[in-house]
Symmetry: C2
Subunit: 270 residues, 2 copies
């Protein structure tokens, strides 16, 4: 009798394939992403199977959800004006960053590092100005989805309804890190899969118990998929990962990407 359940046996796959869909059209507000993805799969001869994980770029989720904001409609607060002067940014963009954030952690030369209202620590609240269809005379910004975990869950249900496949869904974004240069694909929304696999209590190769090895598999998948998405010119916002069915749940016991956030009480670097 133990008072702690043994962790579910997770076996890493010896093979993993990632396939980017290449015919997803430009997405606009109101689009049914599930239908666009199912249609692209059909066109490209990709048959979704239960246990597949779909990694979807934040940008198209935000666009479909109408999270594009015309800067002309934004009025900058005095604080935004002040921070804009210090960072060389458009005050209206800074205003949006502040509205999307709980707090500003650091002010860098060209970026505000914030705690986003969703709990993520990232530059400029994840607000994007590239790849947002707009005239130079009417600049726009694209905010993160309102609730990426909810977006992921909705997309998962929609894919199930359209294709019959029980997939996991990850919404990823390219996010910078402390201490290391460069962005990496990171999970900001998760549904239908274990974002964090707890290896504690599993014996290692010599029978010694592993002590603390939570693995952020959703982030690893988000990074892997990012390799296929490209950054810009390629239009590949959806990648299908095959081989990790061991972490995909039949039921959506979804704790989402929020479970990847380090609690404030354990956070040593703010």
């Amino acid at each position: 009798m133990t008072d702690k359940p043994a962790p579910a046996a997770y076996r890493a796959p010896a093979q993993l394939t990632l396939t980017a869909l290449t015919t997803i059209p430009l997405v606009t507000a109101g689009d049914d992403l599930g239908a666009l993805i199912a249609a692209a799969c059909e066109r490209e001869g990709v048959k979704l199977a239960s246990g597949d994980v779909l990694v979807v770029a934040q940008k198209i989720v935000s666009k479909a959800e109408g999270r594009r904001v015309r800067l002309a409609t934004v009025e900058a607060s005095p604080r935004a004006v002040e921070l804009a002067a210090r960072t060389g940014k458009d005050p209206r963009l800074v205003e949006l960053i502040l509205r999307e954030s709980r707090s500003v952690l650091r002010i860098a030369r060209e970026a505000l590092i914030v705690e986003h209202r969703l709990g993520f620590v990232l530059a400029n609240a994840g607000i994007d100005q590239s790849n947002v269809e707009a005239e130079a005379s009417d600049p726009c910004a694209l905010l993160l989805p309102e609730d990426p975990d909810r977006s992921a869950a909705a997309l998962r249900s929609r894919i199930q309804a359209l294709t019959g496949a029980t997939v996991g869904v990850i919404i990823n974004d390219s996010i910078g890190r402390a201490w290391r240069l460069g962005t990496i694909g990171t999970a900001i929304g998760v549904a239908g899969l274990k974002a964090l696999v707890d290896m504690r209590g599993m014996p290692d190769m010599n029978g010694r118990l592993l002590r603390s090895t939570d693995v952020a598999v959703a982030d690893e998948l988000a990074s892997a998929a990012s390799l296929c998405m490209g950054q810009a010119a390629e239009r590949r916002p959806v990648v299908i990962v095959r081989g990790v069915e061991g972490i995909v749940s039949a039921s959506d016991d979804n704790r989402g990407a929020r479970q990847l956030l380090r609690p404030l009480t354990e956070d040593l670097f703010r």
Copy 2:
């Protein structure tokens, strides 16, 4: 005429496959990793091709290089004894952590967050006590390789000599992050590939120039491979990634994993 060269055109692959070798034997000090990998490829019917990337777990590199230390041979300094008392760790292990580090950044409940002598910020200087063959009565620890970039370069040359294939090599380790829970595979040694791909100056889908999007592709590959390695019971310390030949260099113009380190002057989170 421009005074800045255009970035090399990098096209993300629409498909990526990861294959773990499953017959690498237990590695001990002095082993020729290149030969072990070439033999496993042969046994498993895997033919290495130029442009493949080999991701190799830090543990087997450290073992092959004899970086295992018997704690009985270590004398703890007064500072190690003090930090051991605060963290509940073995003072001799703390001594090794201090010797491997430039500075201690934070003291957590069960870990020392340090700047490793190689520049990486990580818990316990990356020193491992699991999966190190040892009797309980004679505990051992495994240090990171002395110079993982050099290890990667040597392995790359050896693989080329044995198989004729010009591959990229990444040595990865599971490393924790600020702000997020769980470890992810991260590149600590790199040879023969671009660790950081600079997308600056590349037009995005709407012709707007991307401003700052360095992508840490070596870290994304390290994470992707980690999904196939498993954490412990699986003996899969080598993963072959196929599809990213665009970042694998014919010549080893190697700036290594060091180029992924954020310069201290730009670091806002120490």
